[in-house]
C-alpha cells in the first residue's frame, strides 16, 4: 500500500467534511482521486497543514475538519502536536500518512521511519489510532480530537499538477465553508 491508496481510503467515506491536505504529491493525488470544493490543497509552506487545520477547527466548530499530514511535514512542525493537544478541538481529525520518506522530493528517508508517531502523540495527550484499526467516519464524527497514523510504503502515483490557482482553491473553499 502506498500513499495514494491511503488517501483513497480516507476520502472514500467523506461527504461534507473539510479536508486540509499536505503539500506536494499528497495534494496532487487527492486532487486526482476526488477533487471537491471542500478540499484545501497546500501549494507552499511544508509543515503547516496541521496548523491550518487547527485554526480552521477553532474558527468552524460546527464543521468536521480532516487534516491529511505526512511524516516529513510533521517532523517540521512537531510543536503543532503540543498546541493542538492544548486546544483539543473536538471537530479535528489529524491523519499522518507515514511512508518514512520525503515523497515529493525523491523519497529520501525521514527519521520518522524509525519512530512510533502514535506513541509520540499519545504521550502528549492525544487519543491515537492506526488507520487500519478504526472506523474512520466514526472517529471524525465523535467528540474527540483524534490523531491517526497510516503507515504505508513510499512511492508516488502519476497524479498531475493541480491546475487550480491558489486563489481559486481559496475562494471555492471559503465559499463552501462559510455559506
Amino acid at each position: 500500500m502506498q500513499r495514494r491508496d491511503v488517501i483513497e481510503k480516507i476520502i472514500e467515506p467523506l461527504s461534507d467534511e473539510l479536508v486540509v491536505c499536505n503539500i506536494g504529491f499528497p495534494a496532487r493525488e487527492l486532487y486526482d482521486i476526488r477533487d471537491r470544493p471542500e478540499n484545501f490543497y497546500m501549494i507552499g509552506s511544508m509543515g503547516l497543514v496541521s496548523s491550518i487545520g487547527l485554526g480552521l477547527a477553532i474558527a468552524k466548530p460546527e464543521k468536521d475538519i480532516v487534516v491529511i499530514d505526512g511524516d516529513g511535514a510533521l517532523l517540521m512542525n512537531m510543536g503543532s502536536l503540543v498546541t493542538a493537544n492544548a486546544l483539543k478541538p473536538r471537530n479535528l481529525t489529524w491523519i499522518v500518512i507515514n511512508n518514512g520518506a520525503y515523497g515529493s522530493t525523491g523519497n529520501q528517508v525521514t527519521y520518522a521511519s524509525e519512530l512510533d508517531l502514535k506513541e509520540i502523540a499519545k504521550s502528549i495527550g492525544f487519543e491515537s489510532y492506526d488507520l487500519d484499526e478504526v472506523d474512520l467516519l466514526k472517529l471524525i464524527k465523535d467528540e474527540n480530537c483524534n490523531f491517526i497514523e497510516a503507515k504505508c510504503e513510499p512511492g508516488n502515483s502519476q497524479a498531475p499538477i493541480i491546475d487550480l490557482t491558489p486563489i481559486e482553491i481559496k475562494e471555492r473553499f471559503m465559499k463552501i465553508t462559510n455559506e
Binding site: S51, I52, L56, K170
Partner: protein, 163 residues
C-alpha cells in the same frame, strides 16, 4: 490611552477576533487584555511560523486574524508569510515588538533588530513604525482593511522607545 491600550483598542476597532502570540515582555499587558476579552480567541503558539498557519486556517473559517510577537518571530516565519499568506492572498495583521532598537539592553537582539525593517522591505510588505500611542492606534485600527486591500500582511513595528 497608554501604549498597550492603543494597540488593544486598535485591534478591537479593526474587528480582529483571532490572535496568536509568542510573548515579549513589552507585549505583556496587551496579551493579558486579550486573554480577558471573551470576543477574541487568543492562542499562544510554540513558534511564530505555526501561528501563521493557524491564522491562515482561521481566516479560511471567516475570522479576522493577527499575530503578536517579537521581531525575531518574523525571521522564523519568512517562508510561511510568502508561500502561504501571500500566495493565497490571506490578510493578516502583524504586531511586532521591535527589539534591538534604541535602548536595547540585550546584545543578542541587535542583529535581527537592525535587519527587521529591511527584511519587510525585501518582502514587499507594508509596515508602520508609530512613535506615539495615537499613531499606533490609527495604524492598527486601519491595518485589517489595508491588509485586505493589499492582499498581503501589514505590520506594526513597536520599537523599545514606543513603550
Amino acid at each position: 490611552m497608554d501604549s498597550s491600550e492603543a494597540i488593544y483598542n486598535g485591534l478591537k476597532d479593526a474587528e480582529i477576533n483571532f490572535v496568536v502570540s509568542v510573548p515579549c515582555v513589552n507585549l505583556t499587558k496587551i496579551l493579558n487584555m486579550l486573554d480577558e476579552d471573551e470576543n477574541i480567541v487568543h492562542i499562544p503558539v510554540t513558534r511564530e511560523e505555526e501561528g501563521i498557519g493557524l491564522c491562515a486556517g482561521a481566516y479560511l473559517g471567516g475570522m479576522k486574524t493577527a499575530i503578536l510577537m517579537q521581531n525575531s518571530g518574523l525571521g522564523n516565519s519568512v517562508n510561511a508569510l510568502k508561500s502561504l499568506t501571500e500566495l493565497y492572498e490571506f490578510p493578516l495583521v502583524m504586531i511586532m515588538s521591535h527589539r534591538g532598537t534604541e535602548g536595547e539592553s540585550i546584545c543578542g537582539q541587535v542583529p535581527m533588530g537592525k535587519s527587521t525593517p529591511k527584511i519587510l522591505e525585501a518582502m514587499d510588505f507594508h509596515f508602520f513604525k508609530p512613535e506615539t500611542p495615537e499613531n499606533a492606534y490609527g495604524a492598527v485600527s486601519n491595518s485589517w482593511k489595508l491588509s485586505l486591500k493589499e492582499s498581503k500582511p501589514v505590520s506594526i513595528l513597536l520599537e523599545i522607545k514606543y513603550w
